[in-house]
């Protein structure tokens, strides 16, 4: 690092002794304070980015889980039908929406948009809310098979008009439940512990 050495030498060379004193008394604390403040402010403001709780992007249509899953009590698996046969729960094709909306609420602009998409064979592109890093392999199947309710991780979706992320997707969160799964499991479950070895999620 000769450049840095020369840079520092040059910096000190150009300063008279009292300037150095001024630097250490005045500029150094201010600089350190500014760096610390930057870290704190940036860190605070990007909390949702890092822990992602409360992330609730606007979706292409104003679909309300509170209405469908809450008031109308449509089961989660009616739409997220992959959850027992795939790693991913999946998002339904427009065909699934139109099972009901062929006759229901056809006057709404959002429904008309769905009808348009269906007739043209095009998908509805939703905004993704829950995401895991590429090196994590989460599988819905064993969790659903163990009887864990969707709400355990996804929050009370049936009360949300706009879905937001409720759980931080950090490894500590996964491990907490894997070490002591009882709060998440149905009372009749015989499962004592879930696997904690690396290969469970990383491969």
């Amino acid at each position: 690092m000769p450049n840095v050495g020369r840079l520092m030498a040059g910096l000190l060379e150009g300063l008279a002794p009292h300037t150095l004193d001024h630097f250490t008394r005045f500029w150094l604390p201010i600089g350190a304070g500014a760096v610390a403040a930057t870290v704190v402010i940036v860190g605070w403001n990007t909390q949702t980015d890092r822990f992602a709780r409360g992330y609730a992007p606007d979706q292409p249509i104003p679909f309300s889980h509170r209405l469908h899953a809450g008031a109308l009590k449509v089961p989660c698996e009616y739409c997220h039908s992959g959850v027992r046969r795939s790693r991913q729960a999946g998002v339904p094709p427009v065909d699934t929406c139109m099972n009901c909306h062929r006759v229901t609420k056809t006057d709404q602009p959002a429904i008309q948009r769905l009808a348009f998409l269906q007739s043209h064979g095009e998908p509805l592109v939703w905004k993704r809310i829950h995401a895991l890093p590429d090196h994590v392999f989460f599988d819905h199947r064993p969790h659903v098979a163990a009887g864990i309710a969707c709400q355990t991780c996804h929050g009370e979706v049936q009360t949300m008009d706009v879905v937001s992320q409720q759980m931080s997707m950090r490894m500590a969160n996964c491990l907490g439940c894997h070490r002591d799964p009882h709060p998440a499991l149905p009372p009749t479950s015989t499962i004592q512990r879930a696997p904690e070895n690396c290969n469970t999620c990383h491969r």
């Binding site: 910096l11 999946g90 993704r128 064993p142 070895n197 290969n199 990383h202």
Partner: protein, 996 residues
């Protein structure tokens, strides 16, 4: 998963910073404080700007329509058919989200038994080859398919009017429907001449088959019925049909001393996989093979075996076994032992002759099989239902000469590349350029397509429809498993388009044509079922069995023997080297742009990337040549240059060179290796060339070898010997360990590898590469020992240099219970699972490489470079989405295909049961044609792997280090002839180590 920044200020800041750095370049004058603070501010702004970007996790794209079968994240398998040379194979294509990612054999295929050949497994990479043709071309410019077709149709119509012939050159036509289409074309336009030419099919072998059986027949060795197998320069275990290797292995799994085994005699000049496996291997110059085989026939007839009708003993009189044994330097006692074996086995004996050997040797082989009664028993012969090949090299040369003379009106090359695979490049060039209308139907812009103004971009077979008839009575279907990636069509669509353009009414697309023909000709056999159901069932299974036509073994034609004897007497070995031109891993060069196959170590030499002239150690010494010295190989007027490799076990005065290298197009293929097709002036396909001179050029390279040191040095990594030798009890002490005992879980994963049936074919290496997203690193990195294969096949030589014992050992992570790698990792990136897996967690790895240095098996691989970001679209689509793609600076190794274990576990949990034996098959085990690799739960005493691990032949590699591997090797059992006392028995066991 892709994160995209929506902060538009971010690139601006970065740009400013770059500008500031540009001002910093010299740093000659001292930096002012202001400037320093500017930089500090810019860095802080950049850091804040980067950190402040709001998350955008992209979109979720659900299916546009409800899918009947598949869901995102769910694997679907589709049955299809893979064609190569004169064979076709029923395969299963594993797809995820509508794209093929892995191949295996079709388990409904009665012969294939769920195994796919090596080339089929590797060919999924060619589908995603970025060098593929993306559009059809007119004079090198992209053009719509219809326009190219219109141009061709006009040209063909002109050629028809002028009365000049139209030549269609294709590869072997294995598909009955494709054949029907070509017949329809030649019927509609009698001036169309069809030439089906396969560059890697030996003309001499085909000529001998026609001479011996009167017509084109197809042969299938049934090694499961052969107690004695004699290979004359033949290698049934390499690159071949998985069923053949499986049949061979079915007789090589002794459970106790004295269990019957087959006996493999190999007489060869160049070491082959069969030679490595041989119970008795004799070094023989290939030019002597014909006379030796005829002498064996004579000796058998003298010992009472009748000659076929019409063959007189006088014809064989010139071939005396003692004289030829003397000339070949073979001990007569061994040949007598071979005769005794053959006489004892009779129809359960089989003689296989290598495709490169001359006509006379092939006839002699057929004569021996006819005498023994093997024909029809251990060698199934059926009339060729599909005339698979009609053209020899001479036929094609005649066509090209006529083209050069200007008497051909139009030429279409479909799936063949004569500009690479025909020996005389100038003739091909002149012939094509003198033909007024010329078109190529090709997957790649290859050497031949470069000469054609009209180029049709063809589907890869995974995108196309088709069918095949691998054996009379068995039909297989080929179906698309992915939407075409580029603007391509099936090659058959060109012919259909031509017919439609020229006024013949046929189906508009080949898929329709195929259905129509199946409805017309195949469905009638089972007409009780509606066609649609029959068609769906056939697509599902991929296989349709029909009543086989009654097969009678055609009689041996005695007239062939006279031709063979005169040829054998005429063709005395001349001066100079004998050069065996053999088929390598790249077939006719069509796989040369496949990095997996270029980097796959050759099963014998362990060399990657390019072909070499193999020489015996004595010849290399005589010519003062070392590994990598570049020599000029001169055959007649033609010469190629290639580096030398000294191959132990090779006969003196014999050299080999593999076909398929030396391509001039393709980003991977071009310039790698030498084009050995140029040497095949007289007959096509693998051949034996005499009077070859080798001249050192003085230049030399370092060969990209996957295993630079191959001598066993008396160490005992690989146990091999007779049953008694390998099961001799040992007094090895269990190694004490200071490590805490490993925790017990419900399962303990383990593997057993039976070296007795492992042929070293390397299908597992490619399957592992495909399954686990293993990168291709290139020759320079291979030279530095940085090849990335998780599974490798080690090859060791023991004993003398001229007749060495050849030992083969698949090596992968041994998943040690006391793993030396785990204790040295400073960040706990590699750790032990309760189920006995040595886990590698990439996101924790910081790349110290301590683990690799501490691994006694040398199975850990380090990503020295970033091998992924340089990939061009659509190559990354081949990745298995269940396995992390590793970045630079990260260690990796075999995981026992943990993604398959976890998949089986998830399925078991959904079905609320425990994992059963056989639920989990790692990619290597699934691809192994001989089922040498067995995976399972060692805690379950009934599992196959537990039983194999307890076998008397079982041992663990380097067990004396106390690593407690989870992989048990079963020692290789050899079955040498009882009269053979000369073979040195140097099997050593733990505790008897000498040297190391």
């Amino acid at each position: 998963m892709k994160r995209e920044a929506d902060d538009s200020s971010r690139p601006v800041v970065a740009h400013d910073l770059v500008a500031s750095y540009a001002g910093l370049d010299a740093l000659n004058d001292p930096l002012s404080r202001r400037r320093f603070l500017t930089l500090l501010g810019a860095s802080a702004a950049l850091a804040a700007g980067g950190a402040c970007s709001r998350i955008d996790r992209g979109g979720i794209l659900p299916a546009a329509r409800k899918l009947r079968s598949s869901a995102p994240g769910v694997v679907s398998h589709y049955a299809s058919t893979f064609h190569e040379g004169l064979e076709s194979y029923a395969v299963l294509v594993k797809t995820r989200e509508g794209r093929p990612i892995h191949l295996q054999g079709n388990d409904l295929d009665p012969r294939g038994q769920g195994k796919a050949p090596l080339h089929a497994i590797a060919d999924v990479l060619r589908l995603y080859d970025p060098d593929r043709l993306r559009h059809s071309l007119i004079d090198g410019r992209p053009a719509p398919w219809q326009e190219v077709l219109g141009n061709l149709a006009r040209g063909v119509a002109d050629a028809r009017l002028s009365g000049r012939p139209i030549v269609l050159v294709t590869g072997a036509v294995l598909s009955p429907t494709r054949r029907t289409l070509i017949e329809e074309l030649t019927r509609a336009f009698p001036t169309v001449e069809h030439v089906a030419w396969e560059p890697t099919v030996s003309d001499e072998e085909q000529a001998a088959i026609r001479a011996c059986y009167g017509s084109a027949v197809r042969m299938r060795p049934r090694l499961d019925k052969a107690r004695v197998l004699v290979c004359l320069e033949a290698d049934p275990l390499r690159n071949g049909t998985p069923a053949v290797a499986a049949d061979f292995a079915s007789r090589r799994r002794p459970k106790a001393a004295g269990d019957p085994m087959n006996r493999l005699w190999v007489l060869e000049g160049a070491l082959s996989l069969a030679g490595a496996k041989a119970d008795n291997r004799l070094s023989l110059k290939p030019s002597l093979a014909a006379r030796l085989a005829l002498a064996l026939a004579r000796a058998l007839s003298e010992r009472g075996l009748p000659l076929p009708a019409g063959v007189s003993r006088e014809a064989l009189a010139p071939f005396e076994l003692p004289a030829i044994a003397r000339e070949a330097g073979l001990p007569l006692a061994k040949l007598n032992a071979l005769l005794t074996d053959l006489l004892a086995a009779r129809e359960a004996a089989l003689v296989l002759v290598g495709p490169g050997l001359p006509f006379a040797a092939h006839v002699a082989g057929h004569l021996l099989n006819a005498m023994l009664g093997a024909s029809g028993h251990a060698l199934e012969i059926a009339p060729a239902a599909t005339p698979t090949r009609s053209a020899s090299l001479a036929d094609l040369r005649a066509v090209l000469e006529r083209m050069r003379a200007g008497s051909v009106g139009a030429a279409v090359f479909w799936g063949v590349n004569p500009a690479h695979a025909f020996p005389d490049e100038t003739l091909v060039r002149a012939a094509i350029e003198r033909t007024p209308v010329r078109a190529a139907i090709a997957l790649h812009p290859d050497e031949t397509a470069a000469l054609c103004p009209l180029v049709f971009a063809e589907h890869h077979w995974l995108e196309a429809w088709g069918d095949a008839e691998p054996w009379p009575g068995l039909l297989t279907l080929q179906q698309p498993t992915v939407e075409p990636l580029f603007d391509t069509r099936a090659g058959e669509d060109v012919l259909l388009g031509l017919l439609n353009h020229l006024g013949v009414s046929v189906a508009p697309t080949y898929s329709e044509y195929l259905r129509q023909r199946w409805r017309r000709e195949v469905h009638t056999a089972s007409a009780l079922v509606p066609f649609e159901r029959f068609w769906q069932a056939s697509l599902h299974d991929g296989i349709v069995k029909r009543a086989a036509p009654p097969s009678t073994t055609p009689p041996f034609q005695a007239a062939a023997v006279a031709d063979a004897t005169s040829a054998a007497i005429r063709d005395q070995p001349g001066q100079g080297f004998e050069l065996l031109v053999v088929e390598g891993l790249l077939h006719d060069g069509r796989y040369a742009n496949n990095g997996w196959l270029q980097e796959l170590p050759d099963p014998v030499t362990k060399l990657t990337w390019g072909n070499v002239v193999t020489l015996s150690p004595s010849d290399a010494r005589r010519l003062s040549l070392a590994d990598g010295a570049i020599v000029r190989v001169q055959v007649g007027q033609v010469a190629v240059t290639a580096p030398v490799f000294i191959q132990l076990g090779q006969a003196p005065d014999v050299a080999t060179l593999a076909l398929g290298h030396g391509r001039q197009t393709g980003n991977v293929a071009s310039g790698v290796g030498a084009n050995a097709f140029r040497l095949l002036q007289r007959s096509g396909g693998p051949a034996l060339l005499g009077g070859v001179s080798l001249t050192p050029t003085g230049a030399s390279i370092v060969l990209p070898s996957a295993q630079p040191y191959q001598l066993a040095e008396g160490r005992d990594m690989v146990h091999s010997g007779t049953y008694a030798e390998v099961t001799r009890p040992t007094a090895s002490q269990p190694v004490e360990s200071l490590d805490p005992p490993t925790p017990q879980a419900a399962h303990k994963w383990g593997m057993a590898i039976d070296l007795s049936v492992c042929t070293g074919c390397s299908a597992c290496v490619v399957a592992c590469q495909s399954e686990n997203n293993i990168p291709v690193v290139g020759p320079e990195q291979v030279r530095r020992g940085r090849a990335m294969h998780w599974m490798r096949i080690d090859r060791y030589y023991d004993g003398g240099a001229d007749a060495p014992r050849v030992l083969t050992q698949p090596m992968l992570c041994q998943q040690c219970d006391h793993a030396p790698c785990e204790t040295v990792c400073p960040v706990n990136a590699t750790s032990h699972s309760p189920e006995g897996l040595n886990q590698m967690t990439y996101n924790r790895c910081v790349g110290t490489r301590y683990c690799a240095n501490n691994c006694p098996y040398k199975v850990r691989r380090f990503n020295f470079l970033d091998f992924t970001s340089t990939k061009k679209a659509p190559e990354t689509l081949v990745f298995n989405p269940e396995v992390t793609v590793r970045p630079r600076g990260v260690m990796e190794k075999c995981s026992f295909c943990v993604q398959r274990i976890e998949e089986a576990r998830a399925e078991a949990k959904v079905e609320q049961r425990s994992i059963r034996d056989g639920d989990i098959t790692p990619a290597c085990a699934a691809s192994c044609p001989t089922e040498a690799i067995v995976f399972g739960d060692l805690n379950d005493p009934k599992s196959r792997v537990s039983q194999l691990a307890a076998d008397a032949r079982g041992y663990r590699v380097l067990a004396e280090l106390g690593t407690r591997p989870a992989v048990t090797y079963l020692a290789e059992v050899k079955n040498p002839s009882s009269g053979d006392n000369e073979r040195p028995v140097t099997v050593t066991r733990p505790g008897e180590r000498h040297g190391g």
